[in-house]
């Protein structure tokens, strides 16, 4: 009987380690961003809706904002779009969009057809700024605080529920809601 104690002990230990591992990966399949708690990447990009203008991320300093990376080629982005329009109505925090590796005419048509929830949309046609943000699959949505620190990253299609459970608790209450 004695000779079973050691293997059984090892098995129990292994099961415990694996159980902890599974418990501690709450969002399976997504990869934690090393950007959390760090300064959001600074960038200057053309404005999608007005190619004569450029958008500088430095202009957002002092404000909370939600940074949403999308593209018309991305199925999840179509899925989340109505939620973004919904969220836009619920909060004062501006939605800043970044159109990732897209064709401008298609992106503009998308906004005309589906509605535009964004305060401004920057066009990252070459995908260089997306790399700085560590984007690996649209849609991805970041929350950035007034000091320009990335507070949170949400991977996958946004939902009103995700907004209420993941974003609102991280925001000052008076800002989270519409004034």
């Amino acid at each position: 009987m004695n000779r079973f104690i050691l293997p059984l002990g090892i098995f129990a230990l292994l099961a415990l380690v694996l159980a902890i591992g599974i418990k501690h990966s709450p969002e399976k399949g997504t990869i934690a961003s090393p950007l959390i708690g760090k300064a959001a990447p600074q960038f200057t990009l053309p404005v999608l809706t007005d190619s004569s203008r450029t958008f500088r991320s430095a202009d957002l300093k002092g404000r909370w904002y939600v940074f949403n990376v999308w593209g018309t080629w991305c199925g999840g982005c179509r899925e989340e779009h109505s939620a973004l329009l919904e969220i836009r109505k619920m909060t004062q925090v501006p939605l800043i969009g970044m159109d990732w590796k897209d064709e401008d005419p298609q992106a503009l048509q998308w906004l005309t057809e589906l509605g535009n929830p964004y305060e401004v949309v920057a066009a990252d046609r070459e995908g260089r700024i997306a790399i700085d943000w560590g984007v690996y699959g649209a849609p991805e949505t970041f929350l950035v605080d007034p000091e320009g620190i990335v507070v949170y990253k949400f991977i996958g299609p946004m939902t009103v529920e995700a907004w209420q459970t993941k974003f609102v608790p991280r925001l000052p209450p008076q800002l989270a809601a519409k004034s």
């Binding site: 990869i31 961003s33 090393p34 590796k101 260089r128 790399i131 700085d132 560590g134 984007v135």
Partner: protein, 147 residues
């Protein structure tokens, strides 16, 4: 007929395997850079497909990351500069060979520890077996037949 069929099959294989090496046609200015580019693009993970290196992946993000590696190498950055750049944006996960850190130490030590445990068990079992044979007065064959 036979040779024709053979040629047809070979041609088919050639056509089908085309995309496999056409994923990354990048050519670096010197053989030394080409070699470093080759190594780096094979040790960086395609975050979208996750089990492929950016060198082997046809997705657009992998192409963007290859372009980044190419540009950084041509600009004179070191291999570690490139690795650090990628890790700062995508995390340790982008490296197929995780770096040794306090977080990944157990990952690096585990195979050695497991090997030691396995060796200890093997030694013990072998010794026990040897002891059994020593005690046994009957020939080994005899023993095998009767059991």
């Amino acid at each position: 007929m036979r040779p024709f069929a053979l040629v047809a099959v070979l041609a088919g294989v050639l056509v089908a395997s085309g995309p496999a090496y056409a994923v990354d046609p990048t050519e670096m200015p010197t053989p030394e850079l080409q070699q470093r580019y080759h190594v780096l693009t094979h040790e960086l993970r395609c975050m979208q497909c996750q089990n492929e290196a950016i060198a082997d992946s046809p997705v657009s993000l992998a192409a963007d990351l290859r372009r980044q590696v190419q540009e950084m190498l041509i600009a004179g950055k070191s291999d570690d500069d490139v690795r650090n750049y990628m890790v700062a944006r995508y995390g340790d996960f982008i490296l197929f060979r995780p770096r040794v850190s306090t977080r990944t130490l157990w990952l690096w030590l585990a195979p050695g520890v497991l090997l030691l445990i396995g060796a200890a068990v093997a030694v013990r079992v072998t010794k026990q077996r040897a002891a059994l044979v020593d005690q046994d007065k009957e020939p080994v064959e005899e023993d095998a037949r009767s059991s």
